[in-house]
């Protein structure tokens, strides 16, 4: 029973609403459920709503002792304009974008390659490699930040995008997720290529990968989101303004602007925007991706 629940693909169950239980009328019980869910939803949306309300006020209104949702001098986009003019949000967004993209692409490439080998090729030392990779899932980032920092210093890579990108392409859990998926691809599908004498790489590229689009997408989403939102390591690896990623750059805003609440909220919202937009368009894929890969351990 236990294994059944865990190994059935998560994707199918999150596809649509569960079948309606018998008696689909709006009974008092059902109304209560709806009310409770709505209450929770409202609570959960309040931080966004309050941040938005603040961001669209003037600074005086935002700091006014009497707190209200509607500002006395009306809504204004001043804070956003100031943030764009004075700050570096566009630059940081771009930095986050290309570093996260690079991390995702490299992670996918190297993880898929080794996962394929672990799944399909019988080679000497495979068990050891597998064990080592799985064991490394345990290693928490904080153990590595001190020596990694020192290493980046020695390689003169502090304050470069490489310092952000390179250590983050190692995702042992994703190797394992990909391998599990590859294991489930029926061998017969490769046999035609094998009989043609195709090389391993050919089989990998032309047979396995096309069949793996869903899991590759899921891994890509998970890795991209993780890279985009990563704070600790980029914070340590970079100091200079021009290579900061969004989360780290945002941290410097907090104090540089002093007490400018509307601008702080405007910056926060602009930083939240990319992934939230992505979520609005790809809700289903993102949810499936996160849930599928998240099971393998964060």
């Amino acid at each position: 029973m236990a294994t059944q629940t865990l190994t059935r693909p998560v994707s199918s169950s999150l596809d649509s609403a569960p079948p309606r239980k018998s008696g689909a009328r709006m009974t008092p019980g059902r109304v209560a459920v709806l009310a409770a869910a709505a209450l929770l939803a409202v609570l959960w949306l309040v931080p966004f709503a309050w941040a938005t309300a603040t961001a669209f006020k003037s600074e005086t209104d935002a700091a006014a002792p009497k707190i209200s949702w509607i500002p006395s001098s009306g809504f204004t986009a001043d804070a956003f304009i100031k943030v764009f003019q004075d700050g570096n949000i566009p630059l940081w967004t771009w930095n986050s974008l290309y570093t996260s993209a690079a991390i995702t692409v490299i992670t996918l490439a190297i993880s898929a390659l080794v996962a394929y080998a672990l799944s399909r090729i019988d080679f000497r030392g495979k068990k050891v490699l597998m064990t080592v990779i799985i064991a490394s899932i345990i290693i928490p980032p904080p153990v590595l930040i001190i020596p990694l920092f020192y290493q980046m210093v020695a390689l003169h890579m502090i304050d470069t995008s490489w310092a952000i990108i390179l250590p983050q392409v190692i995702h042992p859990a994703m190797v394992f997720v990909l391998k599990k998926f590859f294991d489930q691809i029926p061998r017969e599908l490769e046999e035609a290529a094998v009989m043609d004498g195709a090389s391993r790489m050919r089989i990998f590229l032309q047979v396995i990968l096309p069949l793996s689009r869903p899991i590759l997408a899921a891994v890509a989403i998970f890795v991209f989101i993780g890279a985009w939102n990563n704070f600790l390591w980029p914070f340590i690896a970079t100091n200079d303004g021009s290579v900061l990623t969004l989360p780290v750059g945002l941290q410097t805003i907090k104090s540089a602007y002093g007490i400018q609440y509307a601008q702080n909220m405007a910056s926060a919202l602009l930083a939240a925007l990319p992934l939230i937009l992505l979520f609005l368009f790809f809700q289903r894929q993102i949810i499936k991706g996160v849930a599928t890969t998240g099971l393998a351990g964060t």
Binding site: L6, A17, W44, S119, P142, Q151, K254, L278
Partner: protein, 326 residues
Amino acid sequence: MSSLATSRNSEGQAGPLPGLSRHKLSHQGTPNPIRQRSRGSRDTINGWAFATPFLAFFLVFLVWPLLYGLYMSLTGKSLTGANDSIIGFANYAEALADADMWHSMGNTLYFTVISTVPLVIVALVMAALVNAGLPAQWLWRLSYFAPYLLASTVVSLFFTWMYNPQLGLINDSLARIGLPKVAWLNDPGVAMWAIVIATLWWTVGFNFLLYLAAMQNIPVQHYEAASLDGAGAWRQFFSITLPQLAPTTVMIVLLQILASLKIFDQVYQMTAGGPGGSTRPVVQYIFETGFTGYRLGYSAAISYIFFGLIVAVSVIQFLITRRRSA
């Protein structure tokens, strides 16, 4: 862990490809041992070739730092590059006697305990509500899960603003209903709870998804049989849903514990470990000792003690899940 079980299965299947041996058989009648051995060594080369890109990064940016960090913890190395000589286990001895270290460890454990409970229960409640078959599924998923996609800095900005003692929404709402205002991030007794609330808002969506998926996997027949027997919704929830969710709950709890032990971002951003060090988690102490206090060697020692804790918890997790799936 079911993962290891799977890999053992796949190894049995990963031999010479069936197609190829058929090919060889049709030519020669009996498999040629020399051919097979060369096939084997070609496999070995191939296998390692495929593994090399990953291994390169793995060795350079994970294994080497891991080992070098261990070495650093045996020296008194400073951020300025001074004190590079080996001092044995002095750092570890000092760390184990360091009141601040234990204090931050305690903070981390305290946070883990008080955050895990709501993070599991609220997720369960959310999933149960949504699973009851509500309209507008997308709305619930968006509301509960969207925060998970935010960077920690965004969450900290949102909540620091809401926790503002004079201008914050929360204190204002409390005052409107006649309750006293709270110094959320400035009161040592409350600060950790303030962080827990923010963390709950931020990450419960993930557990919610896992629970929802698990619930939707429970065969409908169980519920139908129960209603035929006359069991109401509550009874069904407690007698069918919860027990069926037990393995998911165990997994979520363990994942949550491991994630909570590593906490750093939102604490550093909202309270910087204050007030009075009452929220400083061990990861922040590691960061401070090394980078603010310049003592990289000592900081590395603390990080390895922390690593030991994580390994212990992970081993327990492994044993528990293995026993369950056996």
